[in-house]
Each structure stands twice: as C-alpha cells, then as structure tokens.
C-alpha cells in the first residue's frame, strides 16, 4: 500500500530531464542509457564528461546483442525502489541463458568494470562447477586434460588432502 521513500541522493532532480548517454557496439548499433545506469560501469564513469555533447561512446569490443543486455542490466540495477528479493529473482532470470552467453556477459562486465554483473556471472559459472566430479566438470565445459601419467601421479599426491 505504501512505497518506501526514495533514496536521499536521487540521480536527477524532477525538474531536469535525465541525462542520456549513447553507446555504440562493434557492429554499429547505438544504445541509449540513462546516466545513473551508465555509472554502474567504472569504465563508462571515467569517460562521461560533464560538458560533452551526446556523441556516442564507441565500444568496439562488445557486440550489439550483448551490449543490449548489459544496458538492460544496468538500467534495472539503477531503478529506485526495487526490493532485494525481486531484484535477485530478476538477476536469476537474466543469467538463465546458455553457457556461451554467460561468458560473453562476463567479458563485457570485466571490460566495462561492472562489479554487480561480474559477481553475478562469475557466481553462475561457480554454480555450474560446484557439486560436480572432475569428470563431470570436464565434460560440461569441454576441458581437455592432457596430463602425462607421471604428472597425474604428482597431482594426486599434491592434493590428496583436498579429497579426504
């Protein structure tokens, strides 16, 4: 019935329109993102000038497909008044995608320095590892293991304590 009061440090006062930043992906697509959302990325934060006109920031390392999702993530996380539980549910849905896409999110989050997205995606991968036997992990991620018999023996000796 009642909503929680807005945070005292609101991004923009009601009288001014929200500042939009334009981003351009590797394949030439342009995306608009609110300044508050863009500030989730430390890389973008360093590049946003106060007095610069709205020329698109080129991001030749990120495709349009991924950049669109990154913009979506940052915008959601900059939304005021979202409670923790629903945000977590939204995050879970966001990363409910195939492996390769998660890796692309990780790389984009790492490059753009978005700690929330990076933590989320790394945890997703960790979840995929957790609880699996080494063989299962190798199969799941297609890891080629080329240990010689001596090396394998050495590895076994080295970490037997981790398997007890």
């Amino acid at each position: 019935m009642s909503s929680s009061p807005p945070p005292s440090s609101a991004a923009a006062s009601p009288s001014c329109p929200k500042k939009m930043i334009a981003l351009r992906s590797s394949d030439g697509e342009t995306f608009e993102i609110e300044e508050a959302a863009a500030l989730q990325s430390k890389t973008l934060e360093n590049m946003i000038d106060e007095d610069c006109a709205g020329t698109p920031i080129p991001l030749p390392n990120v495709t349009g497909k991924i950049l669109a999702k990154v913009v979506e993530f940052c915008s959601k996380h900059a939304e005021p008044g979202v409670d923790d539980e629903s945000l977590r549910a939204w995050d879970a849905e966001f990363v409910n995608v195939e492996q390769a896409t998660v890796f692309d999110y990780i790389l984009a989050a790492n490059f753009l320095e978005i700690p929330t997205l990076l933590n989320l995606t790394c945890n997703v991968v960790a979840d995929m590892i957790r609880g699996k036997t080494p063989d299962e992990i190798r199969k799941f991620f297609n890891i080629k293991s080329i240990f010689s018999p001596e090396e394998e023996e050495e590895v076994r000796r080295e970490n037997h304590w981790a398997f007890e």
């Binding site: 019935m1 360093n46 390769a100 080494p134 293991s145 981790a162």
Partner: protein, 475 residues
Amino acid sequence: MMGENDEEVDATVLVSSKHRELIGSQVLSCKQLCDLPDEILLRVLDCLSTRAAVRTSVLSKRWRHLSKSIPSLDFDDENFFEKSQFLNFVEGALSFRDLSPLKVFSLSCYVAEGESRVNTWIDAAVRRKVQELCLCLVVEIDRPVEYTLPYGVFRCETLVKFHLEMFYNFRVPSEVCLPNLKVLTLDFVGFVNDISFEKLLSCPSLEELSLKSCRCGQIEVLNIGAPNLLKLSIFEPEFFAGLNRHCQLRIHGVRIKSLRYHGQYGGGDHTISCPSSLVEAVIVAFYPAEENPDRCADRVFKLLKGFSNVERLTLFYEGLWDMNEREDLLDSFPVFRSLTRLKFDISPVYLDCRALQVMLSQSPCLRSLVFARGLIEDSEMDGWTLDPVPECFLSSLKEVRICNFKAEDFELSAVRVLLGTAEVLEKFFIHCSRHYRENFQGSLMKHVMKLPRASDRCAISLEFGEKCSGCSRKI
C-alpha cells in the same frame, strides 16, 4: 596497428580521455570456459569454497596452475568431523598454495592449549601479503589468560581489513604498524589496560572501527585516535559490563561521519565526545536502573548536547522524560541546527512529553520524523494539541512515520494532533501492528482520512503485515 595520427599504437585497449575513444583489438567473445582469461577464472574459483576450488587442480594443467593461486583461503573447523582432518586440510592447502598475494584469509577454529600451529598458519597468510584477515578463535585454556597472536599481524603492510573474534584477553605488541588498515572489527576481545591497544585504534588509514562486546574494564579513558575514522560502532549487550562504567570515550578523528552506540550509557561520567563532522548517530542507551532521575536527566542532556550537530539521529533512551521537570535543562536545550531526520526507537514515545516538544522546537530543519515503536498522547485532555507548534512543523517537516500502531485511543489522538499541526506535511505513513483489530473496528483508513489536516498536500498511507518497510522490523 596504426593510431589516428599514423603513430604506432599498441594493439590493446586504450582509452584516450581527450577523445573518449577505445581502440580495441577485437570483439570480446568466447564460447568455452577455457577461453576466458586467467584473471576471470580466478574470480570464478574465488566464488567456490577453498576445498572445491583446490579440487579443480585435477582438471588440466592450466587449472592445476590456477588453483595454486586462488585469491582466498577459508578454513572453518566446523566443516570437518575430526580435528585431524581439519589440520591436514589446512596444512595441505598452505603448502599447496604458492606465494602469490592472498586477498582473504579466514580461519575459524578451536585452538588447543600451547597450540603454535595456528600462529604458523596466520604467519603464512601474512607472508603472502594478505589484505583481509578474519580470525574467529576459541582458545581452549583452563585458566583464561592471554593469547598472543603472531607479531607479524601488527606489522602487516598490506592488511586492509582485520576481523578478530576471540573470547580472551589479548595483548597488542608495542610495535604497531598497519599503514593500510581501513576496517577493524573486534568481537568479544578483552583488552588489558595498555597503550598499545590505543595504537591499534589510531591507525592512520583506519576508516571503520567496530567494538562488539569487548571487555576493557580497566580503561578509564578510551582514546580512539584514528585521524581518518569515518564510522564507529560500539555494541554492548544489555547487562554486559564491557566498557568501564566510568569510561570516557574520546573520538579524536575530525572526519567521523557515523556513530552507533548501543550500551549502558549512563554509568558515572561515561562521555562520548564527538567532533562536528558527525552526520549520523544511532544511540541505544539502557537506563541504569539504580540512578536517580536527576542524574539521568543531566546525563541525557549531556548526551544530546554532544550530538546536536548531526543530520540524522536515531534515539533509544527511556530516560528522555526525566528532563520534563528540569526547567534549567529545557531552557538551555541545544539547537539541532542540521537535524533533518529524527527517529525514536523508544517504546512508546509520549507526544505530550515536554522534553520531546522542546527537542522538536529546537530542530528547525527537521524533515522526517519516525516513531519506530509507536506514538501516544497521554494528556488525558480532550482536544489536546501541541502548543506552541514546533517551528519545523510549519516549515520543514515533510514526512512522518509511525510503526507498531495498535489503533488505541491515545494513539489515534496522537495522529490527530500531528495531522492537525504539521502544515507542510507530504507523507504520513502508519504501519499497523497485527493486533490493531482488537482496538479498532471498521475502516481505519476512513477514520484517519477524516481527521482534519493542516497540510493540503498530505498523502496518508497505511501499511499492514508483519514487516514494516520503513524500519525493517518485524512487528
């Protein structure tokens, strides 16, 4: 590759701040886990338990190499059935791990008497330039004396965060050099009356300090000298004589922004002197049962005076009303010049209490007023109202919140008074307790909406249910 002006440019990602251009090498994309760079795989390993992370060493040569430099080590003897298993695991992990810098070292275990192994482990962490050290040690000694941590801990240049939980006395060596320590939390630790302890509390980079249930019984004056301290939290559970009743707390850092004090404020001359930089204070002070009301009034006056510069104040102190009969104190009540948010955690608050009215009158910029455990008006006079109306009610008070509302008559009367006097009010929240139906039949909302409002912009919200959204408290 060639840059804009035909100069040789390194084919890595460059940011030219002047032109805001990124000259990248190629699109960042990969299909397989093993295509991710080492730094990212280490991050992933950091999300796993130490055991799971180390087990990945068998996956491949690369993973063997990576698992030897996992950023964090976390050991908890509760995860092991037998002590010997735990010991083997820790020793194995420490000899397995290379000497690359350690981000986090966390150890939680029982320490048998004369056990020097734990100190060896802690030393191993210090040698690996640990940044965050978290120790929860239970020392099994018959006669509780002192436990000596390795001195290397107190000279660790890379240490940024240190958490120590150890229900024993510990001595700080005379040489303390922690130039990068930013966060220090001490739980249940006992300190001997020692200058070195103050050295620990004076670290040059220290920003956050938390003392929880610490015992410093002998100390008369606790000097918290950290010059860059921003946040201080002191917690003593009820009936726990942690700090000496006569202990004076002196905060020397002039940058402190936030103070949380939860304890028995009120013994003797227990003073908290704070610089004017303080923005936020949360004070939960238990009423010392054996003191006389006059002394309590003096004390709460002194307390409030000390915090008269804050912007946000949360107060739990049942003895506030002891000031009601003290004209001398009420006449010289401090002005809370910067106070914008005032929250009372007292159960309940009496609106007709003189001391409260004086406090409100002396808070000219107040914007938000919260009564987390209810508000009542006990004047027993029909149509009682605030007289004079506090200045902030006429010019700045925009928001009022009442929690744990049981809809009793004297609560409804208090609501009536607030609505009838706050002229610029914009939001009035009431969070109703589960039991309000015992006191009120019919539509509460309708009743409240009918009450005369001094502000025509005031929106009224009623909230029901167990959890109060404003103060995250379950009613």
